[in-house]
């Protein structure tokens, strides 16, 4: 396996290509449109954050990319291939860590390998590497209920990265954490992204988080969600947390996004 992103320079093909996608849900009474003609291209190795009002269909968008949900119209391609069912070449992290209670942190990470039938020795080595990288050393043998929320989410992140996916999809991964842990996790995730070169799609409610981590921030509107604006974050590649927060580009981007979200939710 090659270290994805860093060396792949097939600029012509996007890693994720969402084109004209709409999603309609039918309930007993009515048909609701969650997403309306959304298009988005994500370049290899790029970090894209998706923000928008609650319940606007951000998570739906990630599930489309993962192939866990089929669009009503439009198409989604991942690594140049149409998405037609659950995709194995991704890593997924949910808001809830979704760990198996009876497995230790390490064995939860290795679940990925077992399900895929990866070589156990190679998987174990990779797991140790990730445990080291995410600061889980010393907690490998703890059961999920013995870990803090932040630690649990680190385990979920390691599990998602075990098979070196080219694309990492994260659905509000730090939404359940306290503010301080969340900042720490942001720094960790930034470092992991820099080190692995994985393409990341992150859904978040936090404007600061979206800007700190991303190359671009996609702002969606209220339901039915359309892309309101895509903001290029003009921040340097490697970002120190507090230094980044203090930069004028950071302040400008967050203020702009806050304005956009304020406008769509009607509080101006």
């Amino acid at each position: 396996m090659k270290t994805a992103g860093m060396t792949t320079t097939s600029a012509s093909t996007s890693t994720v290509a969402i084109s004209g996608v709409s999603v309609r849900f039918r309930s007993k009474r009515a048909e609701t449109t969650a997403i309306e003609r959304v298009s988005l291209d994500v370049a290899p190795g790029e970090f894209v954050s998706i923000v928008g009002p609650s319940g606007c269909g951000k998570s739906t968008l990630l599930k489309l990319v993962a192939g866990l949900l089929a669009p009503s119209s439009g198409s989604v391609a991942l690594l140049g291939e149409q998405v037609r069912g659950p995709r194995r070449d991704i890593g997924f992290v949910f808001q809830r860590a979704a760990l198996l209670e009876w497995r230790s942190a390490r064995r939860n990470i290795l679940l990925q390998a077992e399900m895929r039938g990866m070589n156990p020795a190679a998987a174990a080595e990779r797991a140790d590497e990730l445990i080291e990288m995410t600061g889980l050393s010393g907690f490998e043998n703890a059961l999920p209920h013995e870990l803090s929320g932040g630690m649990q989410q680190r385990v979920a992140l390691c599990r998602a990265l075990l098979h070196r996916p080219r694309v990492l999809l994260m659905d509000e991964p730090f939404g359940a954490l306290d503010a301080l842990t969340r900042e720490q996790m942001n720094v960790e995730l930034h470092r992991v992204w820099r080190e692995t070169g994985t393409t990341v799609l992150l859904v978040t409610h936090s404007i600061a988080e979206s800007v700190y981590l991303a190359n671009r921030v996609v702002v969606l509107t209220r339901r039915p969600a359309v892309v309101q604006e895509v903001i290029e974050v003009g921040l340097p590649g490697t970002r120190d947390y507090s230094a980044t927060m203090a930069r004028p580009e950071f302040a400008a981007a967050t203020a702009h996004i806050r304005d956009l979200l304020g406008a769509v939710t009607g509080h101006d």
Partner: protein
């Protein structure tokens, strides 16, 4: 090491002294009721008289206890295996679930004591009809609890499994089934106590051995001490089988929430957001 085992013993004492004290109190009440002549001795024998009889007739009681225990365990094991298989089939296919459910429910609500004679007619006076009644009694809770358990897995976990591409069999073996085990054990514990009842009911209807037979004979002879002895032994069999399952659960599911003791009440609920 010493302090750890010391703590363990203290824990055992802490858990058992209250129920033990209640048992002792009930024995005292029983004793007082009989010695004061409040109730005639032929209606309620004294505890001393009952335990004396149990010691005198231990080989007679032991033989019949063994018969009932074998019927119970056999019925319980068959019910457990069948119950889990049916539950898995019901969770895998909605058609099977909707087809089988009404019949299962029907089989559950039929009074077992009313159909037990039918099994005697069909299967004779041997151990078979007793096992069948035990299976019928124990089957339903196993199915219901296993279905609940298998359905209790988070959708997110199953979605993750889909992105890991393990396929339905691996997903079942590594995620669904282990996640269902706490529910399954809850069902098995109910089932084992019902299996005892089933075996005894089967014996009531037609048999010349087993604790049900002992109780029925004692009843016919107005031998209340033996009747009480039979009841006590039957309960003890049920309790011991229950405790055996409880032990198996503790050994197999050390991670299970209900075993975490105080941690459950002092930590915020897991997975809450």
């Amino acid at each position: 090491m010493d302090t750890v085992s010391g703590d363990r013993w203290r824990g055992v004492v802490e858990r058992t002294w209250r129920p033990a004290a209640l048992m002792a109190a009930l024995l005292v009440v029983w004793h007082l009721v009989t010695v004061t002549g409040l109730v005639e001795a032929y209606l309620v024998p004294s505890p001393a008289r009952t335990f004396e009889l149990m010691i005198d007739k231990w080989s007679y009681l032991w033989g019949h206890t063994w018969v009932t225990t074998v019927e119970t365990v056999l019925g319980f094991v068959i019910a457990g295996v069948l119950g889990v298989l049916v539950a898995v089939a019901m969770v895998c296919s909605r058609t099977i679930e909707s087809t089988a459910y009404p019949i299962l429910l029907f089989a559950q609500v039929i009074p077992k004591i009313a159909i037990a004679p039918l099994f005697v007619v069909w299967l004779g006076f041997g151990f078979e009809p007793k096992v069948v009644v035990a299976v019928l009694m124990a089957f339903f809770p196993v199915v219901i609890s296993t279905v609940t358990g298998l359905k209790s897995v988070d959708t997110e976990m199953l979605e993750l499994a889909a992105t890991m591409g393990g396929g339905p069999v691996k997903t079942f073996v590594k995620i669904r089934f282990p996640a269902a085990l706490p529910h399954l054990f809850a069902g098995l514990k109910v089932a084992v106590t019902l299996a005892v009842t089933g075996a005894v009911v089967g014996e009531f209807v037609g048999s010349n051995e087993g604790l049900g037979y002992v109780i029925l004979q004692a009843n016919g002879n107005m031998d209340t001490p033996m009747l009480f002895a039979g009841l006590i032994v039957t309960s003890v069999v049920g309790v011991l089988l229950f405790l055996l399952l409880d032990l198996a659960e503790q050994l197999m599911l050390p991670w299970h929430a209900s075993r975490r003791g105080a941690a459950v009440t002092t930590l915020p609920a897991k997975g809450g957001s």
